[in-house]
């Protein structure tokens, strides 16, 4: 775009980076304009990440309000109606406006850099996908002021993030709460599918010379897998939302139980999306771990092929486990047994991954910098999340645990303990690449330890009220149930996590202006993105790179012992 990257004749084998001198800063309007009209994958990636971080804070505030309300029984801090809106919006926000966008943001930023490409396969589709997702988020939050306005919290959705029929039908949800929910999820689904198609086309068609599929770093591999899952799993949600809208706007009867429609059908359709969605969110977290853990253990990833196979295996198995969310809905005993077994099978590839990470660390020289600290916490927490997942897959036990706080604790272990922790790790790891400056390590350590303490106070303890019979999605509880003290510990942990996130946000802003300059390769890493300046120029690579192994920079740094000799 700015300067054509012409290789210097006669100098094959040497790259001269022609980073242009800093252009004069534009006016604010020009800067904003350049971000709005951009089709650059790096800028769009950052837009996704910033958008998601803003909603992370919003959803965090909702979580804090929820925890204040549950601090004592029969609390009247918020009304029942408001509470229902809060947990619905918290869940919907975290999944659709934080999880998906931030993961797509990293995918956008990193996949082309890691495979040595100039941009995504379809830059304009990329911009379209981002802006339609952004529209979806803004529409969803407009619901707070739409309808009767802020005082009554407007028309914000209030039916839980899985919005079981027939509660969502006109008969039980008059007004526009469900309309906001359905339309914004439909829009964000279109954005997600667009980005997923883009990532698949990028990974399969844009790799640099020499980068065969089995020489790709694991991150693009996992993103391709995730994108496949998005395509086959988000589409059913899109279809189900279309059906819901046909019911609500055109008077259809898909989920209208009074006209013979079925509540179970919605549950099936939703979880056909909903369960793979968990893997859509967690596979990118694995992808970050696959990049970060080897660099800080100073060893190549153990069992690359097994890691690829396990990821693809998880994706396929995850398509056949959805009804484990429905063990209490009245399936036959055979159906319950089938979904018990299929769910347990997921633990095999997942176990392979954990063991491979362990083997990667084994024999290494581990550096405990903040990205690695978060990755280590991730390993422990994901192990526990996997084990509680096995407990929930035991269909008979699930009859007790289903829809209780045990489930809430389990999926927060996955979504916070694994995914959010790895998102933090990824931000510490790639922030220098994106901005050219390091995040502050001291603040990072504070962030990490407060986060770990808060997380375990909240989510370890949260398993117990579930086993003591506390259902999820209740705005208050009875004082005689023995849940009060437990809920107070959970809430306190939540507040501590809130403080940790505030420190992190401060670190992000502070380091952007005052952080130490990073240089091209601050972590002594091995993948292509570290071969170019931080932040990378608009054209990424001055000369199209060419690779001969999975760790091109290792080959260059260790010419006496190149990977390419072993692959």
């Amino acid at each position: 775009m700015d300067i054509p990257s012409v290789p210097v004749p006669g100098q094959v084998g040497a790259v001269i980076d022609r980073t242009p001198p800093q252009a004069a800063r534009g006016t604010y309007l020009e800067v904003v304009h350049s971000w709005v009209v951009t089709v650059d994958h790096k800028k769009l990636g950052i837009l996704y990440i910033v958008y998601a971080l803003i909603f992370l804070v919003v959803a965090g505030i909702e979580a804090i309000l929820i925890r204040i309300q549950l601090f004592v029984p029969h609390n009247t801090f918020v009304s029942a109606a408001t509470f229902n809106r809060l947990f619905t919006m918290h869940g919907t926000t975290m999944v659709f406006l934080v999880g998906m966008p931030i993961l797509f943001g990293f995918g956008n930023y990193l996949v082309p850099l890691m495979i040595g490409a100039r941009d995504m396969a379809f830059p304009r589709l990329n911009a379209f996908s981002f802006w339609i997702s952004a529209f979806a988020g803004i529409l969803l939050y407009y619901s707070f002021i739409g309808g009767v306005g802020l005082a009554g919290t407007g028309s914000a959705p209030d039916v839980g993030w899985f919005a079981y029929a027939p509660l969502t039908e006109r008969a039980f949800s008059p007004g526009h709460t469900i309309d906001y929910w359905a339309v914004s999820l439909l829009a964000s689904g279109i954005g997600s599918i667009g980005t997923a198609i883009n990532i698949i086309a990028t990974v399969f068609c844009m790799r640099c010379k020499g980068m065969t599929l089995l020489r790709m770093p694991l991150l693009p591999w996992l993103y391709a897998t995730v994108s496949f899952l998005v395509i086959v799993a988000v589409s059913p949600l899109t279809a189900a939302q279309a059906m819901l809208m046909i019911d609500r706007y055109l008077g259809g009867h898909f989920f209208d139980t009074q006209a013979g429609g079925s509540a179970i059908l919605w549950a099936h359709f939703f979880w056909i999306f909903g369960h793979p969605e968990v893997y859509v969110l967690v596979l990118p977290a694995f992808a970050f771990a696959n990049e970060i853990i080897p660099v800080f253990a100073r060893k190549a990833i153990f069992g690359y092929a097994a890691m690829v196979a396990a990821s693809v295996g998880i994706a396929f198995i995850s398509l056949s486990v959805w009804a484990h969310h429905m063990f209490t809905i009245g399936m036959t005993s055979f159906g319950n047994a089938f979904f018990t077994l299929s769910t347990m099978l997921v633990s095999i590839p997942t176990g392979i991954k954990i063991f491979n990470w362990l083997a990667t660390i084994w024999g290494g020289k581990i550096r405990f910098e903040t990205p690695m600290l978060f990755s280590i916490a991730f390993l422990f927490q994901f192990l526990v999340a996997g084990l509680t997942g096995i407990m929930l897959s035991i269909s008979a036990w699930n009859w007790q645990l289903h829809n209780s706080y045990f489930v809430v604790a389990h999926f927060h272990y996955v979504l916070v303990g694994a995914i959010v922790f790895m998102i933090f790790a990824a931000l510490y790891y790639w922030y220098p690449k994106m901005t050219g400056r390091m995040l502050d390590e001291r603040l990072g350590k504070w962030h990490f330890w407060l986060m770990v303490i808060g997380f375990h106070l909240t989510f370890d303890v949260m398993h117990i009220p579930g086993m003591l019979g506390m259902p999820r999605q209740i705005y208050t509880y009875e004082p005689d149930r023995g849940w009060t003290l437990l809920n107070q510990i959970v809430s306190v942990g939540g507040f501590i996590q809130g403080i940790a996130v505030l420190i992190f946000v401060y670190n992000l802003v502070h380091s952007y202006f005052r952080g130490e300059t990073a240089g091209a390769d601050p972590w002594d890493a091995w993948t292509l993105e570290w071969s170019i300046p931080s932040p990378p120029p608009a054209y990424n690579f001055a000369v199209d790179p060419e690779v001969a192994s999975r760790r091109p920079l290792w080959d260059i740094k260790h010419p006496e012992d190149p990977d390419s000799a072993f692959e």
Binding site: A81, N84, G160, Y164, P166, F172, Q258, S262, A263, I264, R298, K299, A300, F302, G303, A305, A306, T328, I329, S333, N336, A337, T340, M344, L345, S347, I348, I352, L358, A359, I361, W362, G363, K365, F368, I376, L387, T388, I390, M391, I394, S395, A396, W397, N398, W399, Q400, L401, H402, N403, M467, L468, G469, M470, P471, Y475, Y477, D480, R481, G482
Partner: protein
């Protein structure tokens, strides 16, 4: 409620009555509990094993200052990969077999001829219980007989919903089963100890999902028969009663487990003035919209939308467990249900204070 309190051996910190899934009082819950300890033990072993390896590796292989050499690069090992694929498969086979045994034995348990049938209908935000064998309908407080090993009498519940999805969950008795419109699900319990067991709706069903509480009274067979006999009586047009009868005499099969009625007749007059008769109350009740939704068997009130009120005074709580059934609460509830349960589908009828008192007086006679 002291009897129920004694059950909390596992969850000692929990106040009575318990909702702990570990403090079981019925076969389905007990079998699940045994299974859960089996799974917990295996999970704990895995957790300890794997995290011990992790902790060891993190400590043993930490970078030491002054070392600049990279460690030896190892890329993988097929044998090791196979090992940690096969061992989890074996563990899964074990877990699955354990689960399948409990799953089939609970879910496909045959129904004995002695079983009691109860139909449970979920409503926003209360429970309707029907005893088709006895032609009894009640709400929110389920009475079932004890099922001793000597004389097993399990209760088989048919669950359905009148509106949206709900879920029936009394943790001490069994796992939960959802109630769906257009569909009948089944579950069973065989309570092995008498007493009160509590639970609540476990599937989000709307604004007052949190206050869709559930109470199950396990009676001795004799008490249960008495209770059924009482519930089978219809209310007749009662000739004018100037004062509701004394509450202490509230005769009930499980009276020994109930708290004493909290109201003394003296304070009652502040709620229902002496000049008001239950007869007037019945007239008001039957002329208002009350009877469109509520049934009082034997009278013109035969609505089906709200809870059956025929024996309202035999219940301990009002509005699906939202508050104790005292005359004071009853009158406040009639005056404006939203003070206790905003979002409740019972409208505030905007009656005069006198009319509310009259209706209260009438309802207080429905024993």
């Amino acid at each position: 409620m002291t009897a129920a309190g004694a059950l909390n051996s596992c969850a000692a910190w929990a106040a009575s009555p318990s909702t702990s899934t570990f403090s079981t009082a019925s076969t389905p819950a007990r079998e699940v509990n045994d299974l859960s300890f089996f799974v917990l033990a295996i999970s704990a072993a895995i957790f300890i094993g794997v995290s011990a390896l992790l902790v060891y590796a993190l400590f043993r292989y930490r970078a030491r200052p002054g070392e600049s050499m990279e460690p030896p690069q190892v890329f993988g090992s097929v044998q090791i990969e196979l090992a940690w694929t096969i061992i989890p498969i074996l563990i899964i086979v074990m877990l699955f077999l354990g689960t399948a045994r409990v799953l089939f034995s609970v879910q496909d348990a045959p129904k004995p001829a002695t079983a009691l049938d109860v139909t449970v209908v979920g409503h926003q935000f209360w429970w309707e219980f029907r005893y088709p064998q006895f032609n009894v309908v009640t709400a929110n407080e389920l009475h079932v007989p004890l099922s001793s090993p000597a004389a097993p009498r399990p209760t088989f519940l048919k669950l359905t919903s009148a509106d949206v999805m709900h879920s029936f969950w009394v943790p001490q008795l069994a796992g939960k089963t959802d109630l769906l419109p257009n569909r009948v699900n089944e579950m069973w319990i065989d309570p092995l100890r008498t007493g009160l067991y509590v639970g609540q709706c476990a599937q989000f069903c709307g604004m007052q999902h949190a206050k869709m509480l559930l109470r199950v009274y396990v009676d001795t067979p004799e008490q249960f028969q008495q209770w059924i006999a009482q519930q089978q009586k219809t209310q007749i047009e009662i000739p004018g009663v100037t004062q509701p009868a004394a509450f202490e005499s509230k005769q009930n099969s499980t009276a020994n487990q109930r708290p004493p009625a909290q109201l003394k007749p003296a304070s009652l007059s502040s709620i229902v003035p002496d000049s008001i008769t239950s007869r007037d109350g019945q007239l008001v009740f039957e002329k208002q919209a009350c009877i469109n939704c509520h049934t009082v068997a034997g009278t013109v009130a035969n609505g089906r939308y709200g809870p059956d009120l025929t024996h309202l005074m035999s219940r301990d709580t009002l509005a699906a467990g939202a508050m104790p059934n005292t005359p004071e609460n009853l009158k406040a509830w009639i005056s404006d249900p939203t003070t206790f349960k905003p979002g409740s589908l019972m409208p505030a009828m905007r009656l005069t204070d006198r009319q509310n008192a009259q209706i209260t007086a009438y309802l207080l006679t429905l024993k």
